[in-house]
Symmetry: C2
Subunit: 361 residues, 2 copies
Amino acid sequence: MSEKSHRYCVIMCGGIGSRFWPYSRTDLPKQFIDFFGTGRTLLQMSYDRILSVVPKENILILTNSIYAPLVKEQLPDISDSQILLEPARRNTAPCIAWAAYHIAALDPEASMVVTPSDHLITNEKEFEKSITRGLEFVETRDALLTLGINPTRPETGYGYIQIGAECEPGILKVKTFTEKPNLELAKVFLDTGEFFWNSGIFLWKTSAIINAFHEYCPDVVTIFDAGLEIFGTQDEAAYIERNFPSCMNISIDFAVMEHASNVYVECVSFGWTDLGTWSALYDNSPKNKDANVTQNCNVLSYNSNGNIFAIRGEKLVVVSGLNDYIIADAGDVLLVCPKSEEQRIKQMVNDSKLNFGDKYL
Amino acid sequence: MSEKSHRYCVIMCGGIGSRFWPYSRTDLPKQFIDFFGTGRTLLQMSYDRILSVVPKENILILTNSIYAPLVKEQLPDISDSQILLEPARRNTAPCIAWAAYHIAALDPEASMVVTPSDHLITNEKEFEKSITRGLEFVETRDALLTLGINPTRPETGYGYIQIGAECEPGILKVKTFTEKPNLELAKVFLDTGEFFWNSGIFLWKTSAIINAFHEYCPDVVTIFDAGLEIFGTQDEAAYIERNFPSCMNISIDFAVMEHASNVYVECVSFGWTDLGTWSALYDNSPKNKDANVTQNCNVLSYNSNGNIFAIRGEKLVVVSGLNDYIIADAGDVLLVCPKSEEQRIKQMVNDSKLNFGDKYL
């Protein structure tokens, strides 16, 4: 078993959170927002949670260059060398590959946790146990491990993992990954008991993921192999700045996980939610007596139920006769949309861009 | 017939427009807003419209002290001596009485028009003719004249005037004033052809209205009679400052019009609307292809019809599945309320005061 000092964590926080537009904006995406009014943003909560598993100095923040000031402000304990700044958005595979090469250069024995920064996890003790257990598993073999969540409803917004043979108690071989299913299929998945939600939290040794890239999607790591000697040196940032933009734009699932033969799932239950949708946020937030959820704002409501109010600033919101809506306001953009139509938001963002350029993104 | 130089106009603009809250706020009531995006506020439109009837220097602005800067900014042609600043809100009777005493001191022969500043009048030529005709009527007799609007629908938001015998073509004796009726009664009023909407625009000689105050509500003018010699002098403002707050709080209708025997109505039709309600504003505003009305804002709407958007600032509003609502935003307050429930707004303002003090008024 590896020492704790060989354990690293990469927190990814470069996304723009467009599904929460306009509450989440390009200049302040959702991971940088204190969604639950706890005084900690989603990024800060992700950082806090991993601190008990991984030494502070081994936590890396992977983000887009434009968010460097936000990261430094929200995580003042992190040193500049722990922040990896992508000069361009290239989906998850290239940035995870970079992080793996970076960590491997610092510590050839390293294992790593890769985690998004915008999930809600309610049972931190259980999270700590699950991560530790998973690290122990990957540290002793050439395995790619993903955390699978026991599904509680036929959710159509998540990817699913079909489980195969049990390898160790609670850790099983992955049979297939399945993209977001329709409702009918999701119900079947739930009934069979063979499917778990894909959390997008991954654990592996750096050597294992680098090997997997070479085997299943070598194009992603060409530029990293070409610059092997620069990782961990002061030239790394300039090298990445120059070469990263030419990386393939591809997700880690599509590049590696769906193809590799050594993929395992650890079945966990630490109160996980991908806060990917307004409805998920609504479901996971405390509600007032009218079943309304309020984010950072004062609300006077009349004959209004089941709404979610997400308003930046000290704003008073007064509503009457509104049920099951999203009311989101970020200063210069106001959105009023039924929760059931939240899949339209992507189109709205596009229409806004078409009509008004980047102004309201 | 009096010379034009004896004609005065008093534009009242001290109201806070709470029925348009939060678009209209204590710090910027509706009369100071460019409601139709024409580049002129309601107050400026009221001023422009009276200019052809009354000499510029005979136009007085009656407002609350706190709005002096707004009046000066919006009407730069007006001199300070033309602005009468009420130190307290005492409804219409005391401020009209003050204006009458003020004008009488400047010109004992004066006739005057009293007009609110927040009405919409679409036919300015007809307005000019009607006002001139009315002034000619009151200048030759001891009469109190109000302008009555031929009703086009059983509006429950207006006061009505029942007409009596015709005195001159288009000018009739007033039989009764009636407060806002319920819908059933309003329909009866409409059917009889005997009722006109009360516009709240009054015409009279200053001597006639001062006589009427003495006869029907002398308490209102006690403080003005006690200081007769100060009107038109530099001591007037200080005298008003000291004594005005002790005036009765009463409307001109209740103090005089409903009791006096020499009240007449001139039946006019110059495209008048009391912009007293959101629905009235909606009805009188240009609509886009989805029958939405937008005030000063960019709107992207999906499956949404019949709404009115009144938003201060360069804001983008995105709505989906919303029909016949008021969406009003003034920076720190957002209101979303069905048009049919706009009578609740008063309660909302009260609730806001109860919960948050004066902050959002």
